[in-house]
Amino acid sequence: MTAALNPKFTLETFVVGSANRLAVTAGRTVAESPGSAYNPLFIYSASGLGKTHLLMAMGHAAKRLAPGLSVEYLTLDEFVEAFHAAVAAGQGDAVRQRVQAVDMLLVDDVQFLTNRKEMQAELLRLTEALLSAGHQIVLASDRPPNEIADLDERLISRFSGGLVVDMSPPDYETRVAILRRKAEERGVSFAPGVLDAAASLELSNVRELMGALNRLVAYQAVSDATITPETAREMLRGKPGAATPVPGASAADEPAPADLPAPGSPPVAPAAPSGDEFALFLTDVTTNVGKAVEAWRARVAEAVLRWEGEGYRTARLEALLDQDTPGGVEEAIAAYGRDVERLRTLAAEVAQLDPPATGNAVFRDPERLDEAEELASRVRAGVAPPSGPSGAYPLETLVVGSSNQIAVGAAREVIAAPGRRYNPLVIVGSPGTGKTHLLHAIGLELARRPGAVVACLSGQGFIDELIAAIDADRMDWWRARYRRATALLLDDIHLLAGKERSQEELFLLFNLFLDWERQLVFTTPAPPSELADLEPRIVSRLSGGLVAELAEPDRAIRAALIERALAGRPGTERAVIDYLADRPAGSVLSLLDAVQRVTAAAAAQERPLTADFAREVLEGRLGRDRRTVGMRTSGIVVSSASGVRSREKMVWEWPDVADRLVGEVP
């Protein structure tokens, strides 16, 4: 952030006169023993009288006397910009510490502290730190501390605590001395009296004096004759554009009076041309050419300033300044802008997913765009939604019958218009009735949508992840993972009962997803209102969507499932399927378990799979004897007229209790 000390600005090249003697002496003293003589040293003067020169000269002098000394020169604006950029990049403290470690700090243009409370506080802190550490601080301003508008009283007293010294405009002798020295530096010489004539003009500061010298030099370069004190005075004093005649131009070149517009000619007639038109034209062209050929540099510099101010590394742009031609500069600046834009996009994305990761320096350096992309993709991968739906449960394999058609219909609606039709969809059913299958099937279908991120996991998984995140203090990250999801499908939500924190987080997600019209699907073994220990706010939200029940699989579903399960066994009797389908089954799982037992037994005993064999396996030999006409079930006697819904409760004799129970345990 530091502007380099201009090597031309040394004490040797500083012309000392009565107007600035005190300031220069003080500056010299401070340079010789920084931190001990006048601290802080506050120099003020009107613009163009050498504050910057003196500041830099002190820096040079101090460094020459003690080469190990660290000296920093910066203008207040640079300081503010650098500081803001550093804070934006999360490096504020680093900059503070670095500046505090400087042995001699030279701050220019302090008057810009007006209306910058935050910077004033920062500078106050810095000044105190430097002073207490015995480091030198030198400040320059265009007015004394107490005249800087809106300056903190404490700063005024700190600034005034050392030495406040001013510099006045140079007197005539100093002006002559300055002009002579500058002319000498530029290797031009003038006729005696010319510089004195220039110095005698009432110019309020040294910059104007330099401007006058420049005009003299330029004029002398294009004209063949030497300048006399008279022409110099006339040229410098005269109005711009009609100043001086070209030396050697004869009177014949001037328009004769007779050629002047005749009486009666329009009042808008142009003024008679002046003599040194070509010289003026040349000056004009020189300025324009300068602007034109250096314009690209200005544009590069502008871009550097802009992006640096926003806290981006600009090495690539700075490198452009080293080239001689403007070839490709525009493209390079545009490409840089695009890269920065990309970095911003990435940083914004990362900020959502993993806020602390945004502080990474790669997001501030377009040269490291690749690394930034990589980091972003890592973050993205790291916050992939907890887990997606399982491919083992496609919708196609779900057998639809009267017992589940309402739930499946609702699922299809959800798949067709996620988040808008039934939100949330709550699938209620006993264990083994296909809730999980349906949930994952919905998840799989939703995941087919472009850009879809489907989170599909069990309630227990949800709780476990949350605990892990709390444990690792990564709640932001955890939440971001779920917020990225376009659909959230939770199996067995009743497991969240009594888990306050999990319910709290689910509640937050719930609201977000409803707001964003993202689909929510839950499964539970009982209707929401019957779930104990689930907070009412969640229960009410669950009930607010569609609660679809999955009943025990009906016969059609059972038959279809058995058929599919036996599909790999050619020659299976239809009777086997009918027999198995006729058996009551509280769940798909128990049904499939029965099928498996029968097929396994057939394989083990190397017997053909017949209805009788199946009955034998499932009911034991006795079963066959007990079987009576009109009783379709296996050892389970149902009173068809009783109206008792659960046939299981009517069993009075289990053929093999252990066998029966295996299938019932989910």
């Binding site: 294009v222 063949d224 070149d253 328009p255 050629d259 002047l260 517009p261 005749a262 009666g264 000619s265 329009p266 808008v268 007639a269 142009p270 003024a271 008679a272 041309p273 038109e277 070509f278 003026l280 034209f281 040349l282 004009d284 062209v285 020189t286 324009n288 050419v289 300068g290 602007k291 034109a292 050929v293 250096e294 314009a295 690209w296 001689d324 031609t325 403007p326 070839g327 490709g328 500069v329």
Partner: protein, 199 residues
């Protein structure tokens, strides 16, 4: 149009003075010629008929020396104003970096001015140049003539300057407005150079 060559560090500006016959284009060049120090100007080439009308074109090279490290040259051309030399005009116009349209302020010449301006547009078009992009400055010459014979600069602006180009009243015979015009066109040309610097 190789206006700026960053490799050889040269800047060359070709400026063409366009306008109807007898509007004072050659006179502009003569005046400039008279003001440029001898060391900086090349030989002015003028191909004129016996009656001093431009037959082919006038050419005045000016060497402005090294500016910002660039050897800078201006080449001033005039075109023959007479209607029947259109092929020559187009030839001269080729590769122009800027055009000065010298109009005759006399009221009775208004149609000639308009015709010449249209001719400029159509020639630029034929050369594949967008007339709106080419730097253009208007000069209303002969403003020294008695008021009853001429149109004021404001009237000339109304009649000719529909694009709002910089315009200057002039008396090229005596030099009034000549350098103002030249300065203006060179500024436009150089500004265009800074706007889109060709490599």
């Amino acid at each position: 149009m190789s206006l700026v060559n960053f490799t050889t560090r040269e800047i060359t500006c070709k400026i063409v003075y366009y306008g109807p016959g007898r509007s004072g284009k050659t006179r502009n060049l003569h005046y400039v010629y008279g003001r440029v120090p001898e060391a900086r100007r090349g030989r002015m080439i003028s191909l004129a008929t016996q009656t001093d009308r431009t037959l082919f074109f006038d050419f005045l090279p000016i060497d402005l020396g090294s500016i910002s490290g660039f050897v800078t040259r201006f080449q001033l051309y005039t075109v023959p104003g007479q209607v029947y030399y259109n092929a020559t005009r187009r030839l001269v116009l080729q590769g122009a970096d800027g055009v000065v349209f010298v109009a005759d302020s006399q009221a009775r010449q208004l149609d000639e001015n308009l015709e010449s301006l249209q001719n400029l547009q159509s020639n630029l078009l034929e050369l594949g140049q967008d007339a709106r992009q080419v730097p253009l400055v208007l000069q209303y010459n002969k403003q020294d003539l008695p008021r009853e014979l001429i149109l004021t600069p404001a009237e000339m602006d109304d009649a000719l300057n529909f694009r709002g180009a910089p315009s200057f009243p002039a008396d090229a015979l005596h030099g009034a407005g000549v350098f103002e015009t030249l300065k203006s066109i060179s500024e436009l040309v150089l500004r265009r150079l800074s706007a889109g610097a060709p490599a």
